[in-house]
Structure formats: structure tokens, C-alpha cells
Amino acid sequence: MAKHKSIVRIGGVSPSRTRIPRSSSAIRSGNLTHSAAHPGSQRRLGLYIHIPFCRKKCSYCDFYSLSCGESSDFDTLSERYATVLERHLTETAKLTTSPVDTVYFGGGTPTVLSTRQLTRLLSVIKKRFKLLPGAEITVEANPESALPKTLKALRRAGFNRISLGVQSLSDHELERLGRIHDSDTAKHAFQSARDAGFKNISIDLMFGIEDQTPESWRDTLRRAIELHPEHISCYGLRVEDGTPLALRASTANLADDDTQADMYLDACDVLADAGYRHYEISNWAQPGMESRHNLRYWRLEPYIGFGPAAHSDCFGARYSNVRDIESYMRGIELGGAVLDEYEDIEESERAFEYVMLSLRTTDGVDLDSLSKRFSAPPGDARELMRSLTQQELASYEGGGRWCLTERGWLISNSIILKVIDAMSGADRPQDRNS
């Protein structure tokens, strides 16, 4: 794994500086097509628009988002923010001719913006970018904000996929999470989305919630399946530093790792029985309904992020915007810098990313093509994968491709590090001994 030497912190607002890093001639010259085309031909692009507002922050969330209540005049703030996004989208669109295949409005809670504002932003995208027909256009929504009227308007505006933050169908667990909706609200929201014409609905669920039991988890899964969503994401709760949950974690009734692992495997069984395909560590879909936007992250396909703390992998580099909304807005308004971290990704680093990301999906890692794609020979990785296969942590899919099993996914960090080691031969002497 290459060191992150090339990360340059450019952060903060400095009107004198250009918003585009000097080190990236592609961004400055607008020659995105050339750069993004590497190593394939004309590559499709994904856009991520971050809406960093929530009506109330959840107790476990450490993502950058502001509670609407924190701003005395949210209408003014949201209007200013929407205008800034519009400008950022418009300026960035000038740098690329790549067709846009997926658009994702995430948060936060995008639906705290008005439908008028969301519609306006989507129409800017349609107008400025080369949006492909059939593009996947997702909006995240929390059940309490997913009102029939709103959903209909969003569907009309062109959003064709909605991701509902249901989390649990147990009212007690929702309360523990600090969510402001209950299970009935979630079910109504789902029905309203259907009624509004959304044919592709995803719901997010969490396991390892405070006070959750394996039984209540299976119950949530079953009731979620009864709604027949096209897509389900399941995430294990992580206690992140600095969250309200972290403060009481020592006394909270939280599942340990072993229990979380069991819950995960339960989900695998229940969802498989219901016909969902487990295509990525945390994601299940009815066949053909996999999230194309999400898959880009795992397939090293380019995407550009808008909004504070949003990440991009484009122009041959990974970069992120400043985390603070005020800095971000002023940066755009004054034509200054909005970059936080910027990292040119070398080929060896790409090889590492490829292994790390492709092993998360049922695509798996193609060890035969490693040398060709990244000039990174697989080293002892094949032997390692073979031994992992014996332990039922991996499986061979033919054509040089290796996937992790569901048990393998559960410990994928350890496995990824082993694969990287095996590629670089670092493990060789020890492996011989064993």
C-alpha cells in the first residue's frame, strides 16, 4: 500500500487561490475526458450531491450534517446553499464532456430542502451535464419527510430511485437511535413512494442497535421484506467517536462483535430466502436492481461530489471538499478554494484500491488481469485465495476471479490486508513455514 504522501491539504477559504488544485492540470485545463478515460475509453460519470442538513441528528451519526434547528433562518440558509450548489454544478459541468449515468442526492436528509429546490438542482444537472437516458437518479429520504405530495413532486422532477432511511421497524429501537419516525411512519412512507410511482425503492436497515435482539432483527427484516423493496442495505451499528451514543456506549445494551456477526449472517439467510441477491457487503437487491451509483465506488468508476465534505474520484485523483458548510459556500461564492484533501492516485495505489474495493462485491477480484490493469503482479495472492477458499472465506468464480463469501466479507479488512501483503510478497517467509 502506498503511503498517502501525495495528500495536500489545501483547505480553508482563500479567495486568492484558484478553486482547482494546481497539481491537477486535468481539472484546470478542463480536459476531463482525456483524464477520466484512463484506463478505459469514454467513461460514464456519477454525481453525488450532498445535502448536509437534518431535522435532528441521530445519536450514532458522525457524518457531516447540520441540524436545521441550529440555523435561526433555515429558509435563507437553504436557499443560499441551493444557489451555491447550482453554481458549483454549472462550473464543474464546463470541465467535462463525460456522460452522466448516475446521480445521487444524499445527506443528511435531502428532503429537508424544498421540492422546488431539489427540482431546480436536478434540472441544472439535466441542462449542464450530458445526462444519459435511463440514468439512475436517487434521492435519500427519511420516512418522516417522505410525504405523498413531496414524493410525487420528486418523481415528476425526474428522480427515479428513492432510498428510505428506515433503520428499524421496532419503535423502541428507533427511539434508541434517536430517529424521529416510528415504524408506521416508515411503512406509510414506503407506500407513498410506491403510490408516487417509484419503481425502485431501497430501504436502509441497521443491526446491532441498542436493545436490539437477534429476534427483533429478524422481525424487522421480515417486515421489511413484506414491503417488497427492490433494494435493501443493512449496516452494523458502529459506535463512532464524538457521537452521543459514544458517550453512553459503556452502559448501553449493545451487541458485541460476535452477536453482530450472527445478525449479519441471519440477514444473509433471510434475504437470500426472499430472493435478494447479496451483491456487496452491505447491499442486497432484486436481480437487476443493484444500485449503479453505489457500485461505482467499488468499481473505481469516476464520480464527482458536490457540497461540503463530499468526495470525488475523478481527473485521476481523489479529492474532497472542505467539511464546513460556510467555508464551502463562501469558497464557491468568491471563486476561492473548496478543496480539503487532494490525492493523486498512482497506479500501485490503484491496484490496492482495486483489491480493497472489488473484494467488497460479487464482482470479486480478477487476479489474472492485475498485471495488465495496474502493472501489479498478484504475487502469492492466488495461493492465499486458495487457502481462504478452503476455510470457506472465499470462492473461485472462474476466469481468474475470486470473491469473498459472506463470512469472508465479515472479516474483509483482515483479508484485504493479507491479500495486499501476499501481492507484495511480505508474507512469504512466514507462509513457507506454515
Binding site: 498517502h4 453525488y48 474520484d313 474532497s320 490525492e343 472479516i411 490486508l417 495486499i420
Partner: protein
């Protein structure tokens, strides 16, 4: 040339913490040997570690000028000695350089194990032992009781013993008069063949080895060719002189009775062994000063760099430490588990700890050490006898006839209410009770013979915790005894980890095996597969624990494509893995090796 009748050579002996170094500081001050602005506490203990631990590791000597009440100016040579049992031999050689010893006793605590041990050393060296009762400023001080204890237990007159507080300075001036009056002046013939006793040496990068010595007979001059009688090494003396607290004072000659130093561009301290006699090469003395012996390492341990690539650094560091410490021995060894390192021999546990700490601190090394071992005497069936200090070389099966292990004579002084629990402890540690005497109405001295093997395990800690720190221990090697010893191997995932093997008495093997496997289980993180931890004697498993397979180690969520964060987390995890040793397929953190050294119940 000094007037021999005006010289007083003395040292200060005491149990640890009874105030030896503080008294030395006060004496230096009173004699104006150090400017007030240069004065700092424990001035003779100039090693960082000595100050921190409040102990003396190296012997030091200093010349003081004192004008006594009789109007004469006397030369007082104070030879500071290490107090710990590990350094007994050095202590005895330092004492041999003196005519008297101040015996400092804490007025509240009274006589402790090392008070006695050091007194015996002083008496053996034929010294005038002069009791000094210190810490009279303490609320619990009872100088009368302690004076009586000194008379009863040691059998020396304490009626004139100065009662002082080295801390406040109270009555310390009396001590100087006491020395002048009671320490005999040295004797010696300046025209006889040269006889000087080496009581310490120190390596200086510019001058080479600085040899500290006491002149008995003859005269030593710069330019003389000298011979160390035990090692046979010969050198041309470059410089001689006296030792001042912060400097060396160059002189033309050293004459009988004087304490000082010489340098001779000596590269290697092992040529200048403590206890050796220095004489002139062309006019040697017939008879060396008595008492020289080569110091024997009592405790051995494997010392490895945590990072295998630091092996050359460790070698250089040991070389440098050895320059100053002839009692340290080491030779390269290698372990399947730990790679390349050194088998180091130490005088005892404290010595071992000090060396390890100095290596880590002064040379910035991260070390993994193996469990300390003593030297076993192995009798093979074919009649061969071999000394073995490394568990790896301990024979198993038919070739072994029997093994012997070293025993020590231990003296433990304790408030009498702890007698029962100490006897229990010694019993557990295979001790043989010898006798018990009352040294005061409320304190007893217990004599035991104990296997050294049990003492180097966690005896000190156990003694401390069972007596709330009130008991004191002293011991000396006595003999080798036949014993039922076995080699205990530790297996991780079915493979023996050589660095974790140790020798143990058969009866102790089972509980120790259980404890060690438990400790390892606590310290080895869960990995991708289940790891059995086993303890075995000659292939027979006697204890087993299991580290369960890792179930969950995954970064589930990806916030809006923040791959960089994922990479950083993995990077961090990878760094953590680097600090582990790969043994076969098992990653073992450094702490696991350390944990098995501390198995306190």
C-alpha cells in the same frame, strides 16, 4: 604525597532508602566539595536511572578535604557502593578499599535485610563498622530502639552513634568528626612493590577506561607500565589523580592509602576487572590482594529487538554498555520466533532490569525479552556434565540422567505478623526452612534455602504484596541440588514457539502452564482462524486455551464515496499489524511476550 595518617577511607552501607545517598550529599556539602550552585541531590548517582529509582548502580569515589576540630586537615575518601544484592561482589570490593564503613540505619524502620547483608560484608572485609542513626526527623523515629537493635542484632556498640537527619542536616557535622576519630588510618609501604585494588572502572570515549583504585603499597606514576594480575593485561599509565565530585584532579603520583584513578588508553573494561590487583610490570608484587574472583552471571535471558532490522543497533548498544559494565555478558543467539538477538547474562534480576531499561532508554531500542532463566547443571546418561542457561538447550528424553539447579540462602526480615504468609510463600516456592530469629520483639529474620529459579520468577512481587512491602530480602548463592526439572513448551496453532519455552519444577509445571496459556489468550488478538494455545512437556499437552476466530472486522458503510477514509483505516490497521510478530500463521503482539513474564497471581 599525602600524609597517610591523615587519610580516612570509608564507605556508607545501608538498606535501600535508609538515606545513604542523602547523607553522602550532606557530607559533600559540609566539606565544601561542591559549589552550592552545582549541588543537586544524589550527586554521586549521576546516571538518570539511578536518580529515578533512588538507587546506586555504579560505585563512585570522591575525595573530600575536612578540617577537623583538632585543627588538622584530613583527606576523606568516600566510596559510594551499590546497595543491592545483585552487586554484592562489587560492594565487597569497594569495601575492601576502605578501613571503615558508616552503617546507616533508618530510625523508624530499624535493621533490614540489606542492613545485615552489607554489615556482614563490611565485617568480612575487616572494616570498622560505625553505626549512624538517620531520619530522626521522622515522627515515627525511635533512635533508642534502633540503637538497641543494632547492639543486639549486629553486636556493635551504638552508644556513640550519631543520631542525625541527613535530610535536614541535623547533627551531620558530628559524622565527620566520628569518621576522623574512629576510622583507622590506612597503612602501607610506599617503597614496596606496587599493589593497588581496582574497585571500579568506567569507559570514557576520550581517555579510554578510567580505572578507580585504592593504593595499598608502592607508588603509581604516570608513565609506569602496569599489569593487571588476574587478566595479565599490561598498559602504560597516561594519567593518575584523585577523584573530586565533578572532576578528576590530576596528580603526579598515587601513594599508599590514597584512592584515585589512572588511565592508560585502555579500550576494554574487561581488562580491568573489579577486584583485580594492579602492579608494576617490571617490579611485580609477589602476592595479589585477596578476594578477586570473576563475576558469574546468575540470570540469563534472551534479548531481541522488537523490530528485527534493529539487530545491529542492539549489538552496538550492548557493546557500549559492556564497556562500562564488565559483569554484563552476551552472545548472539537466534530464535525461530524472534529472529536474531542475544543471550545475555546478568548478576541478578535488578541488574537485568537495569540493563534492559538502559538499552531501551539510552539507545532508544524496543525490546522483546524472554523469561529469565538460571544456569542448570545437566548430567547426561553418558556421564557428561553441562551447564545450560537456555531452555532451548535443555535435553529431553533418555539422554538426560538428572539435572541440578542453583539454590540460594535467603534471609528475610519482616514484622512478625507476616511470618505465616512468608513461610507459606517460601513453602510454595519449594523453600527449605532453616531457622528463625527475633531481631526485635516485633521483627523476625527468617532463613530459607530457595531455588533461584523460583526467586527470579515473581518472588519479589509476591513477597511485597503479602507483606505490604514491609519485608526485606537478601540472598546469596549456596549450592546446586538435584531437582525434578522439566522443559515446558508453548505451542501456538500447533507449532512450538521456542522463545516461550522455560524450565520449571515438575510439580509447578501444571499451574504455570495454565496461567501462561490464559495470559497468552488475553494478549493474542482474534485472527482469521481459531488459534489453539497449548502447553506441553515433551510432547504431552498439559494445558490448552483457544483464541476464537475473528468474526467481524469490516468497514460496512461508505459515506458518499469516502474511499480515502477507508484506506486510512486499513492503513492504520496495517500499522498495528506491523508491531506484531508473525509466528507461523499467527500474529503475536509484543505485549504477549511481556505478559508471560509477569504472571502474578
Amino acid at each position: 604525597m599525602s600524609d597517610i595518617t591523615k587519610i580516612r577511607n570509608f564507605s556508607i552501607v545501608a538498606h535501600i532508602d535508609h538515606g545513604k545517598s542523602t547523607l553522602a550529599d550532606r557530607l559533600l556539602e559540609l566539606c565544601g566539595a561542591v559549589d552550592k550552585r552545582d549541588m543537586e541531590s544524589q550527586i554521586l548517582d549521576n546516571m538518570e536511572l539511578e536518580r529515578e529509582r533512588g538507587i546506586t548502580i555504579k560505585a563512585r569515589a570522591v575525595k573530600l578535604d575536612y578540617t577537623a576540630k583538632d585543627g588538622n586537615t584530613y583527606t576523606l575518601n568516600l566510596i559510594d557502593t551499590p546497595g543491592h544484592v545483585d552487586f554484592n561482589y562489587e560492594v565487597s570490593r569497594s569495601l575492601a578499599a576502605c578501613e571503615g564503613a558508616l552503617l546507616v540505619v533508618d530510625a523508624s524502620q530499624g535493621i533490614e535485610a540489606q542492613t545485615l547483608a552489607n554489615t556482614y560484608l563490611a565485617v568480612d572485609a575487616g572494616l570498622e563498622v560505625l553505626p549512624v542513626i538517620n531520619k530522626i526527623d521522622l515522627p515515627a523515629a525511635d533512635p533508642d530502639r534502633v540503637a538497641a537493635e543494632v547492639e543486639d542484632v549486629i553486636g556493635i556498640d551504638a552508644s556513640e552513634a550519631p543520631r542525625i537527619s541527613a535530610k535536614t542536616g541535623e547533627n551531620v557535622a558530628d559524622v565527620l568528626e566520628y569518621i576522623v576519630k574512629n576510622v583507622p588510618a590506612p597503612t602501607g609501604d610506599p617503597d614496596a612493590p606496587l599493589r593497588c585494588l581496582i574497585f571500579d572502572s568506567q569507559y570514557d570515549p576520550y581517555k579510554g577506561v578510567i580505572v578507580y583504585l585504592r593504593a595499598f603499597d608502592g607508588t603509581l606514576r604516570a608513565g609506569d607500565r602496569v599489569r593487571m594480575m588476574a587478566t595479565g593485561a599490561e598498559y602504560d599509565v597516561v594519567e593518575v589523580g584523585h577523584l573530586r565530585p565533578l572532576t578528576m584532579e590530576r596528580r603526579d603520583v598515587l601513594t599508599p592509602g590514597e584512592v584515585g584513578y589512572f588511565t592508560a588508553s585502555i579500550k576494554n573494561v574487561s581488562d580491568t576487572r573489579v577486584g583485580d590487583t594492579v602492579t608494576l610490570a617490571d617490579r611485580p608484587t609477589e602476592e595479589a590482594l585477596p578476594g578477586y574472583r570473576k563475576v558469574q552471571s546468575m540470570v540469563f535471558s534472551g534479548v531481541y529487538p522488537a523490530d528485527g532490522s534493529k539487530y545491529p543497533d542492539l549489538r552496538d548498544a550492548l557493546e557500549k554498555l559492556k564497556l562500562n559494565d564488565a559483569s554484563l555478558s552476551y552472545e548472539p543467539e537466534s530464535s525461530v520466533a524472534l529472529g536474531f538477538g542475544f543471550r545475555c547474562g546478568f548478576l541478578g534480576l535488578l541488574h537485568m532490569e537495569i540493563i534492559q531499561e538502559r538499552l531501551e532508554r539510552e539507545f532508544n531500542l524496543d525490546l522483546i525479552t524472554t523469561a529469565p532463566s538460571v544456569v542448570y547443571k545437566i548430567h547426561y546418561t553418558d556421564g557428561r556434565v553441562e551447564m545450560v542457561d537456555n531452555p532451548l538447550n535443555f535435553p529431553q528424553g533418555d539422554v538426560l540422567d538428572y539435572a541440578e539447579e542453583p539454590f540460594v540462602k535467603a534471609s528475610i526480615i519482616t514484622p512478625k505478623e507476616y511470618t505465616g504468609s512468608i513461610m507459606e510463600l517460601c513453602q510454595e516456592r519449594r523453600g527449605v526452612f532453616r531457622n528463625m530469629t527475633y531481631i526485635a520483639s516485633d521483627r523476625v529474620e527468617l532463613h530459607y534455602e530457595l531455588p533461584l529459579n523460583e526467586i527470579i520468577y515473581d518472588f519479589f512481587d509476591a513477597l511485597k504484596s503479602r507483606t505490604r512491602g514491609y519485608a526485606s530480602l537478601d540472598y546469596e548463592l549456596c549450592d546446586y541440588r538435584k531437582s525434578e526439572l522439566v522443559k515446558l513448551d508453548i505451542l501456538l496453532n500447533g507449532d512450538i514457539v521456542d522463545a516461550l519455552s522455560f524450565i520449571v519444577h515438575r510439580e509447578k509445571a501444571y499451574p504455570r502452564a495454565r496461567r501462561i496459556t490464559e495470559k497468552l489468550k488475553e494478549n493474542i488478538p482474534r485472527q482469521m482462524f481459531e488459534i489453539p494455545i497449548q502447553a506441553a512437556i515433551g510432547g504431552k499437552i498439559i494445558a490448552r486455551e483457544t483464541v476464537k476466530a475473528l468474526r467481524k472486522d469490516v468497514l460496512a458503510k461508505c459515506y458518499g464515496g469516502d474511499i480515502t477514509r477507508k484506506k486510512k483505516l486499513l492503513e492504520k490497521q496495517k500499522e498495528g499489524k506491523k508491531r506484531m510478530r508473525s509466528l507461523g500463521t499467527v500474529d503475536v503482539p509484543q505485549e504477549a511476550f511481556m505478559a508471560v513474564l509477569k504472571l502474578d497471581e
